[in-house]
């Protein structure tokens, strides 16, 4: 988790930023500090305000309240009436649809930023060629965007962003327009670009795999606010709210209704026939929601009785739909497990693997093995 705990001053800082579109509050009292060199992802469903946050940092949207600082300078301040136009913020940005100019060649697209910044004309071809080479685009400079494949277009967009050497890179769902296979390859490319440039990167996506695989820290957003901010592993293992638990992780987490109680001599949570032993600061009989990742189930001799309803081999493992009392649960099992639909199995889960939530507040409730 590079830079997350950073002692240095943040490169980007948003303080109490609010943005309204008419009556709709898109971003609400939003504060965030991004450390130099960090790769931070804003993750959330569409309409959660993540793109608006990015565009406010870029200067493409005007916040209605608050302050935004970049590199120790206020680029926007409501109080002081400061607003720096996008071009004066010296940042690079990749757009969702790449936004390559269709009437310019690859070379002209990449050179544009250098020309605008008045680089010496003699120097421009060399810099463009370097940028193209670093993204494996040699020899494509004279093509037009429509003559390139999706992956090549994406790399041109990256080259255009990098060529002026910005300290801050903003990426707005850059991979969402690529097919699944290319997306995996481009994830690696984006990581490599980040590692090579060491530029602070703010990345927006609704794809939690992208967020988990690429980021130093992830901010999960909903309704214009951050629900949880932390390293990917924290988000995955210790979601702070039901929403985060549900949104992060694929295949989806099991959310099961349970009751705090005492049974068979130990305290724990009863989920139908299954008892997860442990203690929480809740009264007996309180209803809770228990979140169990599919891979945390153990199929074996011990545990509660369940019936296999469906078997979905994914190749690397088996996904089982099993009936556990009144619940249908998703179980990720080893691929060599021999089960058929209708077969009776036993399921259990380790207490430290589950997350417990209060169904009213949807907040996590501390739960530990007795």
């Amino acid at each position: 988790m590079s830079g997350a705990a950073g002692a240095s001053a943040p490169l980007v800082e948003l303080r109490h930023v609010t943005k309204r579109f008419g009556p709709v509050v898109a971003v609400r009292d939003f504060s965030l500090a991004v450390q130099p060199g960090e790769f931070l992802t804003l993750l959330g469903p569409s309409g959660c305000g993540k793109t608006t946050v990015l565009r406010m940092i870029a200067g493409l949207e005007h916040p209605d309240e608050g302050e935004i600082w970049v590199d120790g300078q206020p680029v926007f301040s409501w109080e002081r009436g400061v607003f720096l136009p996008p071009g004066a913020r010296h940042l690079g940005m990749v757009f969702q649809n790449f936004a390559l100019w269709p009437h310019m060649t690859v070379f002209e697209n990449v050179a544009f930023g250098l020309q605008v910044r008045r680089y010496p004309p003699a120097e421009i071809p060399r810099r463009v060629e370097e940028a193209l080479a670093s993204l494996h685009l040699e020899g494509l400079g004279l093509r037009y965007p429509h003559e390139l494949s999706g992956g090549q277009q994406q790399r041109v967009a990256l080259a255009r962003m990098l060529v002026t050497g910005p300290r801050l890179l903003l990426m707005d769902e850059p991979l969402s327009n690529l097919d699944a296979k290319l997306r995996t390859a481009m994830r690696a490319e984006v990581k490599r670009v980040h590692a090579a440039s060491r530029a602070t990167t703010i990345y927006v996506t609704h794809d939690q795999i992208e967020a988990l695989t690429m980021s130093d820290r992830v901010a999960v957003m909903r309704a214009g606010q951050i629900l949880q901010l932390g390293p990917p592993q924290d988000l995955y293992e210790r979601p702070a709210t039901l929403f985060v638990a549900d949104f992060v992780g694929n295949p989806m987490i099991n959310l099961l209704r349970g009751v705090m109680g005492r049974g068979q001599g130990a305290t724990g949570i009863a989920i139908g026939p299954l008892i997860v032993p442990g203690q929480a600061d809740l009264p007996d009989g309180a209803g809770v929601v228990v979140a169990v990742r599919p891979e945390d189930w153990q199929v074996g001799q011990d545990g509660a009785p369940a019936t296999v309803e469906q078997v979905q081999p994914t190749g690397s493992d088996l996904l089982l739909l099993a009936r556990l009392g009144e619940h249908t649960v998703l179980v990720r099992a080893p691929k060599d497990l021999r089960v058929r639909p209708g077969q009776a199995i036993r399921l259990s889960v380790a207490s430290h693997r589950v997350n417990v939530f209060d169904p009213q507040t949807e907040q996590a409730v501390p739960f530990h093995a007795a």
Partner: protein, 608 residues
């Protein structure tokens, strides 16, 4: 800051940050300009009709110029002359406009269906030729009608029919509502053709096929599925034709006046040339109100339906229906329409322009005098042929520079409106600019001319008295063409994703650089169609400028008019042929330009 109330501070911030955005500045500038050139003139017109003027002193020596009066309104609406001045012409206007729309919709709709949905002979050619009548000046076919059915009462001898049969054609065939309806219908059907063909093309055959699968018969499918889906296009075509026909001047003047059949447009003209302008202005207001009501009714009727015809981008099929035994009659109909609306008129006009005496249809009467002849006192009051005739060549030059100036200005204005509306989408300012730039569409051409005449006879606001100047013509044509230019500007900019511009803004490109290097190259070809339309419609414009023309600013269209009035149809017809030739050359040049703009990047890419 602390002394200001928070609300005021918010306002100041809004203003300050708003002004930093170029589309806001452009929107504000447009708002001011449009208020000055569209909204205020209309108000000025109303004020003029409620005021005594110097003109009134002749009939009313006790009138006090400048003082308010309801006299003009009373005179038009409730006096012994109201019937002749207002009610009869109004009824005539409605009858001819409705009739012309019915003819145009029937002809254009059938032609569109044949071209899009059937295997009629020569589909691709029909598609191109079906638009040509619109390129011709609106009264071209009226002149041809006169060549055919003219009777001596129009001056200039008898028409082709009388000369061939010896019997004069009946008046109802030669003049009045019937010929006006037919002539206007034949001129305006391309609107219906274009709009309906586009709608039919975007109609997925599977929509009708699903009805068929469910067991619906052909008639039911047509009634329950096809027509409702085409209804928005049908209504738009109707409104467009109706409001154009309402405001047209040339045809009702040529074919109505000889039998004293007045429409509102010719009545407006009559008022203004007989120095009773206020009455003409009131009639213009009546015309504006009718036109606005129709457009409003159309929008209410269509409402949410407009969104039916959507382009999904998914694979869409249109089904071609084999006509079977109907193939020959269908082809005869389609090609007959083209022949009657395009080929025969052009042929007759050319022939007539080559005739020494306008009513002698024999071959030995042919002469090139009206084209290239030197001045000869024996012919046509000594006027030289049009290619040697200085005033006519001057008018040709005027027509060209007026059209080019209008086209360029509307192009710029269209781009500006597009920017303000598309980039400011959702803001009040953007909505206002969009609405106001649409307003000139509601004002029929002749009424628009009347509005500008009323306003610019004297100096007005910051503008000097522009009457009689070339600038006024340019201004009038530009503002009147604004709705179409704005629509093409908005459409062109809609296709340019905001990201393309933002990407350059992030790199530090200022407004001018963004417009020059990103926007203009990207929207040029989309904007060009609007510019071309402005060029063509200005070249053949008569109704709009007839009231504003002075001898110094004559155009080809007004010259044809003068010669028709003087009983020299050969000159009029030769000028029309010249005008059409110039329009076609202009269109060809524009298409060449467009093609080059479209292929240039590819060529460059291949070569390097």
């Amino acid at each position: 800051m602390a002394v200001f109330s928070p609300a005021l501070v918010v306002c100041l911030h809004r203003l300050r940050f708003g002004l930093a955005r170029p589309h806001v500045i452009i929107g504000l500038a447009l708002g001011v300009l449009l208020a000055l050139l569209v909204v205020a003139p209309m108000l000025q017109l109303v004020v003029t009709t409620l005021t005594w003027s110097d003109e009134d002193l002749r009939a009313h020596p006790d009138a006090e110029p400048g003082a308010p009066t309801a006299f003009h309104w009373r005179r038009v609406f409730s006096s012994e002359i109201s019937r002749n001045v207002l009610y009869v012409p109004l009824a005539n206007s409605l009858v001819t406009a409705l009739g012309a729309s019915a003819v145009a919709l029937a002809v254009g709709g059938l032609l569109a269906w044949l071209v899009v949905r059937t295997d009629v002979l020569g589909r691709t050619w029909l598609q191109t030729l079906g638009v040509v009548p619109y390129v011709l000046p609106s009264w071209t076919i009226a002149l041809v009608w006169l060549i055919l059915f003219r009777s001596p009462r129009a001056g200039a001898g008898v028409g082709l029919v009388e000369s061939a049969t010896g019997a004069p054609p009946p008046d109802w065939l030669a003049y009045g509502p019937l010929p006006i309806v037919v002539v206007l219908g034949l001129h305006y059907f391309p609107f219906a053709f274009l709009l309906l063909a586009a709608a039919m093309r975007s109609l997925d055959a599977s929509l009708e096929e699903s009805g068929e699968v469910l067991g619906a018969r052909g008639g039911t499918i047509l009634r329950r599925i096809t027509v409702p889906l085409l209804l928005p296009a049908l209504l738009s075509a109707f409104i467009l034709t109706f409001s154009k026909a309402l405001g047209t001047f040339g045809t009702p003047y040529l074919l109505g006046l000889p039998v004293r059949y007045f429409t509102l447009s010719t009545m407006i003209y009559a008022h203004i040339v007989s120095r009773a302008a206020a009455g003409g202005y009131i009639l213009a207001l009546v015309l504006i109100v009718i036109s606005a009501l129709t457009v409003h009714a159309n929008q209410r009727a269509i409402g949410a339906r407009r969104s039916f015809v959507t382009i999904t981008g998914r694979g869409m099929r249109t089904r071609i229906r084999p006509l079977g035994p109907w193939r020959a009659p269908a082809a005869a109909f389609a090609w007959g329409v083209i022949a009657i609306a395009v080929v025969v008129p052009l042929g007759l006009l050319l022939w007539n322009s080559l005739m020494r005496y306008p009513d002698d249809y024999s071959l030995r009467n042919l002469t090139a005098h009206f084209w290239i002849g030197r001045s000869d006192p024996a012919i046509a009051d000594g006027e030289a042929g049009i290619l040697r005739n200085r005033p006519i060549l001057g008018a040709a030059f005027n027509s060209l520079r007026l059209s080019v100036a209008t086209a360029v200005l509307t192009g710029v204005a269209g781009l500006a409106v597009g920017l303000a509306v598309v980039r400011g989408r959702g803001t009040l300012l953007a909505k206002m600019v969009e609405q106001v730039s649409f307003l000139p569409y509601l004002v029929p051409s002749i009424a628009f001319g009347a509005v500008y005449l009323a306003v610019f006879l004297r100096s007005w606001g910051p503008l000097p008295a522009l009457y009689g100047t070339f600038a006024l013509l340019v201004l009038t044509c530009t503002v009147k063409n604004l709705p179409f230019a704005s629509r093409s500007g908005i459409a062109a900019l809609m296709q340019v994703s905001g990201e393309l511009e933002e990407a350059s803004a992030v790199l530090g490109a200022g407004l001018w650089l963004r417009v020059r290097r990103i926007l203009v190259p990207l929207v040029a070809s989309g904007l060009l169609s609007g510019v071309l339309l402005a060029f063509i419609s200005t070249m053949r414009e008569l109704s709009l400028i007839i009231l504003l023309i002075t001898p110094a600013t004559r155009t080809l269209t007004t010259m044809t008019f003068r010669y028709t009035e003087q009983g020299l149809p050969q000159f009029a017809n030769a000028i029309i042929v010249l005008l059409i030739a110039l329009i076609l050359v202009g269109e060809l040049l524009a298409r060449r330009l467009e093609a080059r703009a479209a292929t240039a990047p590819r060529e460059r890419g291949d070569r390097l």
